[in-house]
C-alpha cells in the first residue's frame, strides 16, 4: 500500500523517541544499579552489592513499607471519596452532571506543585486551619501535628489523586445500561440490593483501575512528602532523590529505582489481568 520511505518516515520518529527517552534511560538505570561508588567516583565494575545492601539494611525496607502504607491509605480514602462522587454524578446529578464533572476535572489543570503547596498554607502552624481553630478558642496553641507528618502526606495525596479514581469509576458507571438497573428493580430488588449485586460488580474494573492509579502514583510520589511530610513522612522516592543528590550514591539509588520499577510493573500487570477478567464486552 504505502511506499517504504513513507512507512519509514512514519515509524522512525516515534521509535527514536521511545528508544532515546525511554528504553535507553532504563538500560542506563539497570547498568548503574550493578556498578559501585569508590572514593566519590562511580566505578563501572559489575557487582550485586547494591542489591545486597537493600536486603541487609532494614532502613530501606522500612521506608518502602511506610510508602506502601501511605499509598494504601491514599488509595482507600480516594476510593471512599471518588466512588460516591462518581456514583452521584453518574446516577443522581441529572442536570448539573456536566458541571460537576468539569469541577472534578478542573483541579487537574492546576499545577501539582500549587495544589501540594496549598496544603502547606492550610495545615501550617500559622496556616488557615490553625488560625481558625485558635482564634475561635477551640485550641489554645496551634496544632503542630497537622503539617510535616504522614497524615499531611496522605491528605495531600488523597486530594491530588481522587480525580484519578473518579474518572475510571465514572466511566464504568456510565457504561452500565439503564435497562440493567431497571431490570434489577423489576425483578424485585431494592435500591441497596441493586447497588451491591449489579452496579458495584459492573463498576469493579473501574474501581481497580482507579485504585491502581492512586496506589502506584502515590507510592512513587516525592513532592508531597518533600513539602508536607517532614522527617516522619519521608517516602521511598525521597530516599532515591537524596541518593542521587547529596549522598552521591547513584548505583544504590538506581538499584532502589529498579526494584520499584519491577514492583510497579508486576502490580500493574496483575491488576490489568484482574480488570480484563471482570470486564464484560457486549454488555
Amino acid at each position: 500500500m504505502y511506499s517504504r520511505s513513507y512507512r519509514a518516515a512514519v515509524i522512525i520518529p516515534p521509535l527514536a523517541w521511545v528508544s532515546v527517552f525511554l528504553i535507553a534511560p532504563y538500560i542506563f538505570m539497570f547498568c548503574f544499579s550493578f556498578w559501585q561508588v569508590r572514593s566519590q567516583t562511580i566505578v563501572h565494575q559489575w557487582t550485586l552489592a547494591n542489591y545486597r545492601q537493600l536486603v541487609e539494611n532494614p532502613v530501606y525496607f522500612e521506608v518502602l513499607l511506610r510508602s506502601a502504607r501511605i499509598a494504601a491509605s491514599v488509595t482507600l480514602f480516594a476510593l471512599l471519596l471518588g466512588f460516591p462522587l462518581a456514583y452521584f454524578v453518574s446516577f443522581r446529578a441529572r442536570r448539573s452532571k456536566d458541571l460537576l464533572y468539569q469541577l472534578v476535572i478542573v483541579p487537574l489543570w492546576v499545577s501539582y506543585l500549587v495544589r501540594a503547596y496549598a496544603w502547606k498554607t492550610i495545615l501550617g502552624s500559622d496556616g488557615v486551619l490553625n488560625t481558625i481553630l485558635t482564634s475561635s478558642g477551640l485550641l489554645r496553641h496551634p496544632a503542630e501535628f497537622l503539617l510535616y507528618s504522614p497524615f499531611a502526606v496522605v491528605l495531600t495525596l488523597t486530594h491530588i489523586y481522587t480525580p484519578f479514581v473518579f474518572l475510571p469509576v465514572y466511566a464504568s458507571l456510565e457504561h452500565i445500561p439503564k435497562e440493567m438497573i431497571e431490570t434489577s428493580q423489576d425483578l424485585g430488588a431494592s435500591r441497596a440490593r441493586t447497588f451491591w449485586t449489579v452496579v458495584f460488580p459492573l463498576a469493579l474494573p473501574g474501581v481497580i483501575a482507579g485504585a491502581t492509579f492512586a496506589f502506584v502514583l502515590s507510592l512513587g510520589d516525592f513532592l508531597s512528602p518533600l513539602l508536607v511530610g517532614g522527617p516522619t513522612g519521608v517516602m521511598i522516592s525521597n530516599v532515591v532523590v537524596s541518593l542521587f543528590g547529596a549522598a552521591y550514591n547513584w548505583p544504590l539509588g538506581a538499584a532502589i529505582s529498579a526494584c520499584m520499577l519491577l514492583l510497579v510493573i508486576a502490580l500493574i500487570s496483575g491488576t490489568e489481568r484482574l480488570q480484563n477478567r471482570l470486564r464484560y464486552r457486549g454488555m
Partner: protein
C-alpha cells in the same frame, strides 16, 4: 368461581414530557390470561405506556388498578409484574442460572425451592445445558429465552415485553413468535407485548391496542381490526387497503360509477376496501352476487408469491389496488366486482 374482572385497568392515563403529550387519556382493561399487543409506530407512546405499567415512569395523570388495588403508587420492585426489555439486559457478570435466580434471591427464596424453580424455568425455555454459561456466550435467541425465563420464574401476574424480537433476524423471529405464543398459552400469564410490526401483532395477539400520537385508535381482536378498521389510519396501517371517498346524495353513495344506498348526514364518506376483497369477474352479466361492477384496465402487476397485486384503472377514473391469487391468466381489460359488504365505513 366469580366472573373475572380485568387484571389491570388503565384509567385515563396521560403522560406529558414538558409541553409534549406522549400519552393522551388512555383507558384500557387488560383481561386475565390474554395476549395483548400495544401496536404503534415509533413515537406513538407505546414504550412509554409499557414503562408506566412497569413502574419506570409515572403517569402525569390517571390511575392504574390491578385486581382492585391501586398500582401506580407502587415502586417497580413491589409490583407483581416482570419485564422483558428490548435488549434483554441480562446481567453479564452472572451465569444463566444466577440471572434466572435473581428475582427469587431478591425475594429471599433459597435452597431447594430456589434451585427447583430455576431449573424448571430453564427446562421450560430449553436452556438447561447453558445454565453455567455467561450470557455473552449465548446466541441472540438463547439470550432472549433467558430474559423470558428470568421474568417468568417469578410467576408474575403480568409479563411486559418491549419489542423483544426486534434484534433477531427474520427466520429466528418467526420461530420465537410461535414459541412465545405457545408459551403464553401454556403458562396462562397475561402478556402485554409492544411492537411496531403489524404482522407480528396480528399473529400473536388476542387483542391489539393500536396507538397513534399517544391516543388509542382502536382496540380489537386482530380479525376485527383487519376486517372492521374504524379509522383511515387503522385501515392503512394494518395491511394494504383502498381508501375511497364517496359522495353522498339522496341516500345514495357514489364512487365513480359505483353507486349504492347509504344513509348519512354528511356529504362525503370514507370507505376502506381491502385489495383481496375485490374480484375480477369473467363476463359483464351483472347481478349473480349483487356486487358493484366496473370495467377497467390493468396498469401494473406486482408478483408476491402466493398472490399478485394489481393496479387497475377503471373507466370512470377510479383507481383500485386488487389482490388476486398468484399466476392466473389475465387479459389487459378486466371487469372488477366490489362486494358491498366489504366496503367498511370509516370515522374521519
Amino acid at each position: 368461581m366469580t366472573p373475572a374482572g380485568p387484571l389491570l385497568s388503565l384509567r385515563s392515563v396521560t403522560k406529558r414530557f414538558g409541553a409534549a403529550t406522549v400519552l393522551d387519556d388512555i383507558t384500557v382493561d387488560i383481561k386475565e390470561s390474554e395476549f395483548l399487543t400495544i401496536l404503534g409506530e415509533s413515537g406513538s407512546g407505546k414504550t412509554t405506556l409499557l414503562r408506566i405499567i412497569g413502574g419506570f415512569e409515572q403517569a402525569t395523570s390517571g390511575e392504574l388498578w390491578m385486581l382492585g388495588k391501586r398500582l401506580d403508587t407502587q415502586p417497580p420492585n413491589r409490583r407483581n409484574i416482570n419485564t422483558v426489555f428490548q435488549h434483554y439486559a441480562l446481567f453479564p457478570h452472572l451465569s444463566v442460572f444466577e440471572n434466572v435466580a435473581y428475582g427469587l434471591r431478591a425475594k429471599r427464596i433459597a435452597g431447594a425451592e430456589l434451585s427447583g424453580r430455576v431449573d424448571a424455568a430453564l427446562t421450560q425455555m430449553k436452556l438447561n445445558e447453558f445454565s453455567r454459561r455467561r450470557p455473552t456466550q449465548l446466541s441472540g435467541g438463547q439470550q432472549q429465552r433467558v430474559a423470558v425465563a428470568r421474568a417468568l420464574v417469578n410467576r408474575p401476574s403480568l409479563l411486559l415485553l418491549d419489542e423483544p424480537l426486534s434484534a433477531l433476524d427474520a427466520n429466528l423471529r418467526r420461530h420465537m413468535q410461535a414459541e412465545l405464543k405457545a408459551l403464553q398459552r401454556e403458562v396462562g400469564i397475561t402478556f402485554v407485548f409492544v411492537t411496531h410490526d403489524q404482522e407480528e401483532a396480528m399473529t400473536l395477539s388476542d387483542r391489539i391496542v393500536l396507538l397513534r400520537h399517544g391516543r388509542i385508535e382502536q382496540i380489537d381482536a386482530p380479525r376485527e381490526i383487519y376486517n372492521r378498521p374504524k379509522t383511515p389510519y387503522v385501515a392503512s396501517f394494518i395491511g394494504y387497503t383502498n381508501l375511497l371517498t364517496a359522495l353522498i346524495k339522496d341516500g345514495r353513495a357514489r364512487i365513480g360509477s359505483l353507486e349504492w344506498p347509504h344513509k348519512s348526514d354528511q356529504q362525503e364518506a370514507l370507505f376502506s376496501l381491502r385489495p383481496e376483497h375485490i374480484k375480477i369477474v369473467k363476463s359483464d352479466d351483472a347481478g349473480a352476487t349483487g356486487g358493484l361492477r366496473c370495467r377497467g384496465s390493468v396498469r401494473s402487476r406486482v408478483f408476491a408469491g402466493a398472490s399478485e397485486l394489481l393496479e387497475v384503472d377503471c373507466e370512470d377514473g377510479l383507481q383500485l389496488k386488487i389482490r388476486v391469487p398468484g399466476q392466473i391468466a389475465l387479459a389487459n381489460d378486466v371487469i372488477v366486482e366490489v362486494p358491498l359488504e366489504r366496503l367498511v365505513p370509516l370515522v374521519t
